[in-house]
């Protein structure tokens, strides 16, 4: 073996250690980059004919990943995304039914009862009559506010779901493109680590929004499923769309290759913000809105029936307190439709405080009956009083919100664990990198020393020749 060959060995060693420093510095640079996977420089020995004469070769780099751990992490992100989305929505609904501060619907109902009792005390008092009308109108408007808030929240959620789907479709397109580039790079024998990082980052953005399943093929391309439907297959992405089913529920449709008719995959949607929003919209809010409509309908009907039995100051009877122009079969839409009846609006004298025309104006029997309605079981099929019925609603919403909070806490903990597992596998440890840096630095210095020794030897040889 000649000295000049030894020079090549020293050169390879310097190159290899420099490569190690380069990979280490890449790791350090990306210590806080989301989705970045730690690289390890792969070095191997290069044997040149004889076992005592070898050098080092750069075999590329390795991304420290594990498909199983990543799959678990995506799934955990999806479950947390679903729980958080549901909890956020339920927190909003909860605010509409929070009467603990004493400013909610319950206090509006209390004011109505108070006004009826005042009217009963002095049926001919015009101020008491005005108070009844204004408190009834306030109650109706509070009810409308809650009803409208729920409706607009439902429509906001639909918009949010559409935005999420739009993002998912765009991201699926990006993944399909990255798949193409990765397959191409691998086929050419090029490094695809950065492309893979980029693809992982896109997956990380998608995971909190939908339940993702990712499988990597031999060619390096990944197969992505969302809500059980194939979203990306090789270099091809399919589109998700949001639609409305006949009952008003949201449906998720997935496009199919070779078919213009998308398939309904709603039932398979099990994670991500999409699932959380769907659960909150089509189960929680729907149920709450239906119960609230029923409650409002029951209260309005009970008050109307009692009021219709009484007589106004003009001696007329059969007048309603509330109008409910419902869009369909009762009680759907009652909360949004409730208004002070045109029978009495602006006509306080028409309030039926008396129970007969003969006892007008001082008779207050019907006003007392109206106030006593608040102690009778007139809602929930005649099983609960007005305040009990409302407290049931408050309790129901509170329970849902509390369950969602607990679910979010649990899911966040699980996400933390999955994230730790992923980090433990793929994250950058500066300690390790510092050690690696020192290792490669020393390797480089040693290689340089080899180079110097060879140089010295050559100088020596040259001296003899001279």
């Amino acid at each position: 073996m000649g000295l000049s060959s030894l020079l090549n060995t020293a050169r390879d060693a310097l190159n290899a250690q420099a490569y190690g420093v380069s990979v280490t510095s890449q790791n350090i640079t990306n210590v806080n980059t989301p989705g970045y996977v730690k690289r390890t420089a792969l070095l191997e020995t290069r044997v040149l004919g004889r076992e005592d004469y070898g050098t080092v070769a750069i075999a590329g780099l390795q991304r420290n990943t594990d498909q199983f751990i990543e799959g678990r992490y995506y799934s955990a992100l999806g479950q947390t995304g679903a729980a958080k989305a549901r909890q956020n929505q339920l927190t909003l609904v909860e605010a509409s039914f929070n009467d603990i501060s004493g400013s909610g619907l319950s206090s509006a109902l209390g004011s109505v009862n108070d006004a009826f009792q005042k009217l009963a005390a002095d049926p001919s008092d015009s101020v008491a009559r005005d108070t009844v009308l204004s408190n009834l109108s306030n109650f109706a408007s509070r009810v409308n506010t809650v009803g409208n808030d729920i409706a607009s929240q439902k429509s906001d959620m639909l918009n949010q779901m559409q935005n999420v789907v739009r993002d998912l479709n765009r991201q699926a397109g990006e993944i399909a493109n990255l798949n193409r580039e990765i397959v191409h790079a691998q086929a050419q024998g090029l490094d695809s680590a950065d492309l893979r990082d980029k693809r992982d980052q896109v997956l990380l953005q998608m995971a909190p929004n939908v339940d993702l399943h990712v499988v990597e093929g031999e060619d390096g391309a990944i197969f992505v499923q969302a809500a059980g439907a194939t979203l990306v297959e090789g270099t091809e992405a399919r589109k998700l769309t949001i639609g409305i089913a006949s009952g008003g529920n949201v449906k998720l449709l997935a496009g199919r290759i070779g078919s213009s008719a998308p398939s309904d995959v709603t039932k398979s949607l099990s994670g991500g913000k999409l699932a959380g929003l769907k659960e909150a919209r089509d189960v929680d809010l729907k149920e709450t809105a239906a119960k609230f409509d029923q409650y409002v309908y029951d209260v309005a009907t009970a008050l109307n029936t009692q009021h219709e039995a009484g007589y106004g100051l003009d001696g007329a009877t059969g007048r309603k307190l509330f109008d409910l122009n419902l869009p369909g079969a009762p009680p759907a839409g009652a909360a949004r439709a409730l208004t002070l009846s045109t029978d009495v609006a602006g006509q306080p004298s028409r309030l039926a405080a008396s129970d007969s025309a003969a006892t007008v104006p001082g008779g207050g029997v019907n006003a007392t009956k109206l106030s006593k309605l608040f102690d009778l079981a007139v809602v929930s099929g005649g099983t609960r009083t007005i305040s009990e019925g409302y407290s049931d609603l408050v309790g129901g919403v509170g329970l849902k919100s509390a369950t969602a909070k607990r679910e979010t806490t649990l899911r966040s903990t699980l996400e933390g664990q999955a994230s730790d597992m992923k980090e433990s596998m793929s994250g950058v440890s500066l300690d390790e990198e510092m050690i690696a840096l020192t290792k490669y630095q020393q390797g480089y210095q040693a290689a340089a020393k080899v180079f110097k020794v060879i140089d010295d030897l050559m100088q020596e040889l040259m001296g003899i020749l001279r």
């Binding site: 210590v31 806080n32 730690k38 339920l90 927190t91 909860e94 605010a95 039914f97 929070n98 009467d99 603990i100 319950s106 206090s107 209390g110 004011s111 009862n113 108070d114 009792q117 005042k118 009963a120 005390a121 002095d122 001919s124 008092d125 003969a358 006892t359 007008v360 104006p361 001082g362 008779g363 207050g364 029997v365 007392t368 006593k372 608040f374 102690d375 007005i386 305040s387 407290s391 408050v394 309790g395 129901g396 919403v397 509170g398 329970l399 919100s401 509390a402 969602a404 933390g416 730790d420 980090e423 433990s424 994250g427 950058v428 440890s429 500066l430 300690d431 510092m434 050690i435 020192t438």
Partner: protein
Amino acid sequence: MRITDAMRTNQTLRNLSGLRESHAQATEEATSGLRVNRPSDDATAAALLTRLQSRLDQNTSTQKAMSQGRADLDQSESALAEASDIMKRAKELALTAANGGTSPDGRKATALEIGGLRQQLLGLANLKGSRGSLFAGSQTGTPAFDASGVYQGDGYEHNLQSGPNSEVTVSASGERAFTIAGGRDVFADLSALETAMNNNDPAAVSGYLDALDAGHQQMIRERARVGVNQNRAEQSDTLLTHTKLLLETQKATAGAADPAESLTRLVTLQQNIEQALQVARKVLDLQLMQLS
């Protein structure tokens, strides 16, 4: 397990944010004095609190309405007491006038006084309370009696809710106190007495003594009824006050925070955060890089 920098920062962040969340909750509890600030804090307690609050509201409304009714009862009672005195005075005058020794002029003068008493009684019977004419039944907008003493009201009795399942009558019946429905038409009797005195007819005057007695008695009876209702109204008021206290106690038990407990928790959490922050700084500083 391989521990990376991100794991350390994430873990520190998770722990700190958990502590911050607990601290925020404890602060809310300590500053509001409430354990339950929103339904999800404790759904069952929130439902109970809503029910208790609405019962408290109802209780307060009933008490307010009843206090108005009680004022009417008090006013009716004193009006009836005065009316009884008038009848007593009328009877004394009638006794004097029935006496044969009274001169015709004396009878005329007494007649004048009887006329005055009748006007006074009419004024009392037409008194107005919080909801209009006190003794006119449901016809509160018109005087109970016209100038000639004819009753313009009705037999309606005004009842008010005194509790969840009870009512109390807060009106006195002008019909029973002053008209034939109660036994004697007192205004007609006083008019007739006045006429008999003006006619200088002692026999006729003495014929009205029993009638005056009966009129007096019917006012006393009505006053006694009012008295009974005053007592009932007062009892209801006491009961409502007790119920209010009870409901407030229940509310506090269901939703109020124990001040000592919440303050202790707040202080403990504050210390926890301070410690966690110090530990976090040390943990995050702990790197090989710092040593080289």
